[in-house]
Amino acid sequence: MLSPALLTRLRAVVGADGVIDRPEALLVYECDGYTLERAAPEAVVLPRSPAQVSAVLRVLHDEGIAFVPRGAGTGLSGGALPVAAPVMIGTSRMQAIEAIDAANRRIVVQAGVVNQWVTNAVRADGLCYAPDPSSQPACTIGGNVAENSGGPHTLKYGVTTNHVLGVELALPTGELVTLGGAVEDRPGYDLTGLVVGAEGTFGIVTRATLRLVRAPEAYRTLLAVFESVAAASEAVSGIIAAGIVPGALEMMDTLIIQAVEAAFRIGLPTDAGAVLLIELDGPAAGLDPQVERVSAVCRTTGVREIRVARDDAERAALWKCRKRAFGAVGRLAPNYCTQDGVVPRTRVPDILRTIAGVAERHRLRIANVFHAGDGNIHPILLYDERDRDEVSRVLAAGREILEACVALGGSLTGEHGIGVEKMGQMPLLFGPDDLAAMTRLRAVFDPDGRANPHKIFPDAKTCVETRAPRRQAAM
C-alpha cells in the first residue's frame, strides 16, 4: 500500500486533482485496449508538465516505487497494465503543441498530444504527420512513441520511429534528458531510436520532436472486390511485383465487410470474399497511370469490381470503414480481441489459411482486417467474456496464430507491442543472448527496473509470485 505521506508528496507536485486514489475512480485505469487482463493501480498521477513528471519520478525514486506510464489507454498489448507497479503516471494532461516550424517540417509536442491533433495543427501549411494508427482520434504521441505505432500508411511512409527526430525522456530517477532534436545527423549512439518502441521501460517520454511530411498533392483511393482472400492476396503480390508502392494497401475479409456494411451502409458487397483498399498518393501527374497499372494487376487475379473514390467525401467514407472496422466488429460479438502478427508479405495466404484452421479447431469466429502490403495481420477473435471456456479458447487460438507467424519467418507484433500479452512468447523469436543484450540495454536507462516492470521480457518468477493471482482473478 502506498503511504498517505507519499500521496501527500505527490499531491504537492501535481495538485489535489492530479492524484486519483479512490478505488471506484481507479477502475477506469485497470486495463488499456487489451481487456483480457485487468489490474488497477493504487494511484494515478496526472502531471501537467514535463517538470511535474520529473518531480513525481523523483519522489518515486526516493521511495523505490515502480510506475507504469499511460497515454490514452488505447494500447492493445497491455503495455499500460499495472503489474507490480503501484503508481500509474498518465500523460493526458500534457497537451501542449509547443512549436511548429513549417519551413523545416518539424513540430515539438508534449506527450499527451493526440496523434490527430498534430496533423490538424499543420494541415493549413500543407503538411501532415504520417503515422496514422486507427486509434488516431484518441491515442497520444507519447503512447505512439512508446509502442512505435504504425497504421495503414506505413507501407510507404514508415512507422513512428521514422518520424521521431528527438525526445525528452524523464529517466526513472526523475532526470530529464534531451535526446536528438530538430537537427538530423547528430553524432553518437541513436538513443532516440532506442527509446522509440521501448514500451515505457526506459522512463517516460515527456516531449517529442516530430518530422512532418508534405501532404500528398493528390490521392486515388480504390476499392477492389474479390471472390476470395486468396485472389486478393495474389493481387497484393502482383502490385508489389509491378514496382508500385501504394500509400496504403489494406485487406478486409467477409466478416469485416459485413460488419462494416451493417454499421456504415456505404454499399460494400456483403457476399464478397475480400476487398482491398488501395490508396495511391503523390504528385497528381503520376497517379492515373499507376491506377491503370494497379487495375490491370487486379484484373489478372480475377477482380470482380473496382471502384475509385470520385471525391474527398467518397475517399473519407472508404477510410472510415477501414479505420472504424474494429468498432463495427462490436456488432458481431460482445467482446473481441485484436491480434497483431507479421509474416513476410508473400506468406499472407498461408497465414490466412492457418487462421481459418485455428478458428475451426477452436470453434471461434475470426475476422480479418489488416495491412496486407506490410504482411501485418490483424485477426479479430470474437468472444463473449462471460463464457470462460470461450475465453480460454481465444487465448489458445491467439497463441497458435502468433506461433504460426514466427514459423513463417515473421514476428509476434508489427505495431501493438509485446506488453504483457506476448512476453511469454518472446523466446520464440529471440534466444537467451539476444534477450540478455536487451536487458543490458534496459539497465542503461532503468537499472532498478522500476519503469513499467514485468513487460516485454519473460520473467517466470515474478509471473508466478506476483502477477498470476491478479491476472487470474481478472480473467
Binding site: 514508415g158 537537427v183 545527423d185 553524432p187 531510436g193 503520376g286 513476410p344 505495431e415 539476444d434 542503461v444
Partner: protein
Amino acid sequence: MSVWADIVGAEHVEAGTAAAAIDGVVPSWVVRPGNVDEAQACVREAAGHGVVLVAKGLGAHLDIGAPPARLDVVLRLDRLDRVVDHQPGDMTVTVEAGCPLAALGRVLAGAGQWLPLDPPRADATTVGGLVAADLSGPLRASQGRVRDLLLGIRTIGADGALVAGGGRVVKNVAGYDLPKLHVGALGTVGVIVEATFKVRPRPEREEAVVIACRTGPSAGDTALAVWSSAIAPVWLEAAGPGALAEGPGEGAAVVVGIAGVPEEVADARARTLELARSRGLRAITVADGAGLRARLADFPVEPAAAVLRAAMLPSDIGAFFADVDGVARERGVPVRCLARAANGVVYVAVPAADDVAPLVRALRPRLEAKGGGLVVERAIAAAKVGVDVWGDVGPGVELMRRVKAAFDPAGTLAAGRFVAGL
C-alpha cells in the same frame, strides 16, 4: 600469429603493415575469418587477452572517426560476403556484412529493386561499413538513412556471443530496436556480421535539373524553395561555388533529382524549370540523373585534407554557406561546400590539413548553439591532430557512456574511435 592462424588458417592472417593502419596506428595483425563462427572465436580470443580489435570491410571508410586509442587486430570481414536471402515479393534482403554494395545491387537489380542508399565510394563499400558508419548519399532526402531501412541485424558482442535484433519482416516491434544501436556506432558495441534491409522498386526513370545560382547562399535559399514546393524531389543538393564540375557555369547550383514513372518525371521537370524561370535563374536538364547523383555522392571522398559535415536545419543552409564563405576568405582557404538541402547537412571540403582546426573552431560553436553540430567526417591523420573530430554530443553523453560500458566494458571493440572517447 599462431593463435589467430589456429582460428582462421595461416593463409588468412597477415602481419599489420602501414597499409592496414587506421589514422596512422598500425595493427599487429590483420585477421580474415571465413564465417561467423570463426569471427566469434576471434572476438572471444581478443576479449580474453585484452586485445583491441577494429572490424573492417574493404577499408574505404576507415578515415571516419577519431584515431583508435589502441589497435591490435584488424578483423577483416570481406570473406563474409554472401547475399543470404533475397525475397523480391517481400521486398527484403538479408546479407552478410562483408558483401560489397555493388554485388548486392546486382542481385536486387535482377528483380527491378534497389537498396536506396548511395554512399560515397559505393563500389568499395560493404554492408557492414554502410551500417557501422551510417553512410548515406543524396537519396536520403526521400528514402531515409540506414536507420530507416535496416530491419534486422546480427552482431558479435564483446564477449563473443552472437546477438540478433529486429527480424526479417518490414514491420516489427518485438523487443528493443537493437539494430539502431549499431547504426553509426563504428563497431564500438558489436561486430556486425549480417543485416536485413527493406528494399524498394527502382524507379523507371531518373533525371536531374541543375539550376544555376550566383552564390552559395542563393543556392541554399533556392533549394529551400524547391523543397517547399509541390515538386517532391527524390534528392536535392545545393552546391557552393566550385563544388559541381558540370552544369551551367562555375557558380553555385541547386540540383534537383526527379524520378518515377515517365509522367511523374515529366511533370516534376516542367515544374522545376518553371520555378527556376520564375526566379530568373537558368536551368538545364541532365538525362542521366543517376550518374550525376553518384558523382555528388562522392563529394565527401574527393581529394581533400578533410571533409567536415555540418548539421543544421534546412532553412539555415543559405546562412551557413555565407558563414563558411566569410571564414574561408578571412583565412584565404579555398573551401568547397555541398549541401543535402532537404536534410540540413553540408559537407565542407578543406584542402590543407593546417586549416582544419581553425575552421572547426570558427564554425562549430555557431552550429552547436543552434542545436546542430560539426563533425570532421573524413580526414588524413595529420588533419585530426588537436581536433575533437566529433564535437559535443549533447546531454545524452552520460547515457552513451553507459551504453558502451554495458556492451563493451573492457574496451575490446574499436576503443577510442567514437564520440566522447568511446
